[in-house]
Amino acid sequence: MTTSVDRLQKPRTFKPWPYLLIAPSLLALVLILGFPVYKLISLSFQRYGLAEIIAGKGVFVGLDNFKETFTDIEFWKILERTLIFTAGMVAVSIIVGAWLAHLMVNMHPLIRKALNGVLILVWAMPQLVSISVWRWLFSFNFSIVTALINSLGFEMDNHNYFVNTFSGFLIIGGCVAWGALPFITISIYAALTQVPKDLIEAAEIDGANPRQVFRNITLPMLLPVYIILISLSTIWDFQIFSHIWIFLDSRPSAEYYTMAIYAFQKSFGLSEYGKGAAISLIMIFSLVGVTGYYLRQMMRMGDE
């Protein structure tokens, strides 16, 4: 699609322009992201604690950090917890988002506009703001949610929702999903409106029922959007840190550890940077499949 300009130039001469144009961005990425990735890999093979920080040099220990991590029962528990938490949040936010988006098509324009406005408003909430508000909704002493539950005839004054990890994770997950829903819903709705109407009409004329239209036209056309949204949500939800950290007053108990918190505690809490790096690397590798899938989808879009 861009060849028309290039064609004006003589072929076979080396053109430095594109390389000069991408050079600054490449430099920034290599310096501030490429180097840390390299550093992360090399750290994961080192013992790097307080003594090594002062010496400015780690001690090479081979695969010890990985061995210790993989033989730690705690690690497997945390990995399992993180995976379940991620899967739950992705599933809920994608299903609810898709459901809402499909309903939006049939809504009265006024209601649709109002819903769109609310979604934009929620989308605009800075992460720390949404966490603060949710903490307030479920606070220990003066929670409106507790008051509403009480008004239904229950008796649960001064309920601490975070003593029980299940309700704790439910609330944290709710806050994450609440923040993610607008992006998901609006993206799916936007994609839905791009599905050509004549295609659907043609199918209806040919006798297709709504379910067939959905399965044979809408769903296949929306599939790329779903793939992108699911991969992005997985990557975002898998690395959740701030929500858990702030909800639990910057000192989450071990039952609340997820991979990101675990790596953070190992390195910044216990000063075992080598082990923290190994855990972080395992995090990145757990996401390789999802990332690959996303990458393929995006590259395909970029090619066309």
Binding site: A28, L100, M125, S132, Y189, F268, G302
Partner: protein, 275 residues
């Protein structure tokens, strides 16, 4: 047709969703205008019955507010201008030129976007402390640029490929040089895209918490999200002023967001559905 029954169901669900999604924001704003006595009540009511600005006064006069605001503005300004400038060049190369290694460059741009930030905290911290850039706004700005750049390049590329190359071609035929063609024809056409991308980068930098939390330790370096986190200390949380501060922090984002909402609606997934 059963269109009516399905639209009744859709409308009811819509209203339900509006109430449920909107409630936290409603509760934040109404709490922020309540006097202390109403906030610290074990029997809160949905509808407010008194009005007070005391929370806002307390939030704004709380230590560090003006400093945090200035710091956030500095961080946002440099992050947005530098990343936009750098990304503009790169996006022209990607959208308008053919060169060896383009696929690799695009792939790495997309891949970098997928790196989990929390996994890179350790080496980033160590790298910046070696460069003497921890607890400095410059260090935060540098990392923000790197994390925002891929998104900005990709989005600008999206806007660029939608502008037909024939327009610049015509300018070239009329005797313009290539830089002139870009400056006089291309840039004015992509101005709306540039503005939208700048606003999006602004929001990212304004909202970011984790990196700033790790990299900045002293109180006078705090950005707005760090300042917000400071409302909770070991004695508990000052809910009223926190809700006022949260509302204040959200306002600029809400304003900017509503300006670009039609653009972001299709943003990430643009071109995914082939009509």
């Amino acid at each position: 047709m059963k269109r009516t029954s399905s639209s009744i169901f859709a409308n009811i669900s819509g209203i339900f969703a509006i109430v449920l999604m909107g409630f936290p924001v409603y509760w934040m704003v109404t709490t922020s205008f309540k006097p202390k006595g109403d906030i610290l009540s074990t029997k809160p009511t949905i509808l407010p019955h008194s009005f007070s600005l005391s929370n806002y006064v307390e939030a704004v006069t709380k230590e560090g507010f003006s400093k945090a605001l200035i710091n956030s503005v500095i961080v946002v300004f440099f992050t947005v201008t530098i990343s936009l400038f750098v990304a503009l060049f790169a996006s022209i190369a990607v959208a308008r030129m053919k060169f060896k290694g383009k696929r690799i460059y695009v792939a790495s741009i997309l891949m970098v976007q997928m790196l989990p930030l929390s996994a890179l905290l350790i080496p980033l911290y160590l790298l910046l402390s070696k460069l003497n850039l921890t607890d400095k706004l410059a260090g935060v700005i540098l990392t923000y640029i790197a994390f925002i750049l891929p998104f900005v390049v990709w989005t600008l590329r999206g806007f660029l490929v939608n502008i037909p190359a024939e327009l610049e071609e015509a300018a070239l035929v009329d005797g313009c040089t290539k830089p002139q063609a870009y400056r006089l024809v291309l840039f004015p056409l992509m101005a709306p895209g540039l503005v939208a991308t700048a606003i999006f980068a602004f929001i990212q930098a304004w909202n970011e918490f984790l990196l700033a939390y790790i990299l900045l330790s002293s109180q006078d370096k705090a950005t707005m999200p760090i300042w917000l986190a400071g409302f909770t200390n070991r004695f508990g949380t000052d809910w009223g002023p926190l809700m006022a501060a949260s509302t204040l922090t959200a306002i600029p984002v809400v304003i900017f967001f509503s300006l670009i909402q039609d653009k972001i609606a299709t943003g990430v997934t643009a071109g995914a559905v082939k009509g």
